[in-house]
Symmetry: C2
């Protein structure tokens, strides 16, 4: 399937090639795709566009060796976005391939960078983020959760690693450094290594490309830290979901072009009905020359989030190109599926919330 979908490309494919080059990623291409068992929608359609050392994970899956998956919760507000949905879909994929999952609550980061008190972060994590992650597909039975602030080993390691990056390196990775950013970065580096504290093993961290500095910082630090022979972390990088107005990345600063999770099903449907498409100015013209799905935000929503069946997606692409279907119909279809997603999410969220006490949350002993 992937081969047929691949050439459709993305609205902003050039930028992703630049990201791969600038940030030293490897492209996620058909070659690596062919080695992954049962690739998910995001991989098949190359929404995952880059990776680092994913070969190690492919190898672990194939040989049924131990590997770990790591992701985080930044408890800064009480909304997720479609990028988080993609992260969890990637985590779910690797969980199904046998990985042990670690989900950290970045309560030290939200304290340092957003002044969120630790008890407030804990509340938000337990009452919103963790159930939301489960509603998005995270398997809690294969997951260990922890709070950065309570993980003394992670905190100690972050201090121990602190001399391994210079301020100029922080500047190159994260822009102008500050004490809160440095503390957050060191804690995240230590989080990424945490699954290897007891036993070194490959670890994959699925992220949006904006998170790549943490991965690069960790890989730099691992090279310089000689006491443990940590395996450099692997990563997958997925594209942004474009803003409904067609700009590169959804942003909360434009609420009418932004889809949050959760969101009122009727409201989100209305927003989608106003999305930028790849259609012509008139229906007559579109019937004649066809639409441009490769420039259409609604088609991108189908591809990234809403349509699971590759054949169905392929048919929409072709029918749009040939002028057989019009934008109104596609928007209606997208709005309906998204509405269903939001209703479904709420059900799963409430269910997960009811079962929150059953989670495996790491508790730490004081030495």
């Amino acid at each position: 399937m992937a081969e047929r979908i691949d050439p459709w490309g993305s609205v902003l494919i050039d930028d992703y090639n630049k990201i791969i080059e600038n940030y030293g990623m490897e492209p996620f291409d058909k070659k690596i795709l062919s080695k992954l068992p049962n690739p998910n929608r995001l991989m098949r359609r190359l929404v995952v566009f880059g990776h680092q050392d994913l070969g190690r994970i492919v190898d672990a899956i194939k040989k049924k060796k131990d590997f770990a998956i790591l992701t985080g919760i930044m408890p800064s507000s009480e909304k997720l976005h479609l990028g988080t949905k993609m992260v969890i879909e990637m985590v779910k994929y690797f969980q199904e391939q046998g990985g042990k999952t670690f989900v950290l609550v970045a309560d030290l980061e939200s304290l340092a960078t957003r002044d969120v008190p630790l008890d407030e972060a804990k509340k938000r994590a337990l009452e919103f983020y963790i159930p939301a992650y489960i509603a998005l597909g995270l398997n809690p039975k294969k997951t260990v959760f922890y709070f950065q602030s309570k993980n003394k080993k992670v905190r100690d390691m972050s201090v121990e690693l602190s001399p391994r990056l210079t301020l100029n390196e922080y500047r190159a990775l994260y822009g102008e450094p500050s004490a809160p950013k440095i503390i957050s970065s060191l804690t995240q580096i230590s989080d990424i290594l945490f699954p290897q504290f007891d036993k070194v093993q490959p670890v994959v961290v699925p992220v949006g490309s904006d998170q790549s500095p943490h991965l690069r910082a960790t890989r730099d630090v691992v090279r310089r830290y000689k006491k443990v022979d940590f395996i450099p972390p692997s990563a997958t990088y997925h594209k942004f979901t474009p803003s409904l107005d067609g700009s590169m990345k959804m942003s909360k600063s434009k609420p009418n072009s932004f889809i949050s999770i959760p969101e009122d099903p009727e409201k989100v449907a209305k927003k989608i009905m106003k999305a930028k498409t790849g259609g012509c100015d008139t229906i007559e013209e579109q019937k004649k020359v066809g639409g441009k799905p490769e420039e259409c935000v609604v088609f991108e929503l189908f591809k990234q989030h809403l349509i699971e069946d590759d054949k169905e997606l392929d048919k929409i692409f072709k029918d749009c190109k040939s002028g057989k279907i019009m934008c109104g119909g596609c928007k209606k279809k997208a709005a309906d599926i998204m509405k269903k997603f939001m209703i479904d999410f709420n059900d799963k969220f409430e269910n997960a919330k009811r079962n929150i006490s059953k989670l495996n949350i790491l508790e730490f002993e004081c030495e």
Copy 2:
């Protein structure tokens, strides 16, 4: 007594006036001295040359209100120097005036800046530093000890305080910043505030002037932190003990001019016999014109460390000035007292080590 000793000044008095000016200290003078009950040798002789907000502590002593004393252990090697001896003498003084003492082991700082593993830091603290502090006069019954790494409240506060100083401010305080320095500084700031976590109270931190950046940083942060109305910490600043060769500060880099604690009694005596004095080139000349005790390292040792009785010190000063006594005799006297001090230290140290299990070391519960 103080009045008579005061005008003798110090070998490097001008520099201390500059330090007071440059670092925004208040001079420690006869006025503040007159308000302190039973001032110790270092205060009477103005070896304590500067302070910050010591009035708060004077007031607490007078009104028998709660106040705290804080000092730290940097477990980076297994030697103390005469500066530490002065710190502990100041702590001892404030303990006797009713202060509750906190002694922290800066194991996070030694991990970050010297790569000392936490378990090694713990070993050094329990087997050397804490018994040595007790041997120098610290009253363990009035002291709470803790390890930075185990004090979650201190660590959490250091993260919370991290946005309250800019990197430019770190640079102004500590020179070119680095991640380990920033972490160490934030942890120390948090340590200095720790005695106020449960209840705000005046805290005095007796230090050598090289430690003043931590105090200034803490005072800056306190002004900006609005959630708790912390009282800005008070401090006393004492002079350095000059190097035996007459340069401003003893340094390990010149071992023959450096007195460490502990040190072999015979060796230390030999070093003192070679110290720079304020004597003349010939005995004949010195008998005629007298010596210069105000430029004499041996006299400075008498004043700062070796002679408790002000009258005795005064007599040495006058007899030197008038050419009645010669340098050989003074060096012999200093060497003998220092030898006795080292032997006495060892006895007390061994005794404190035997009783180490009785200390009040803070243990922390995990929440």
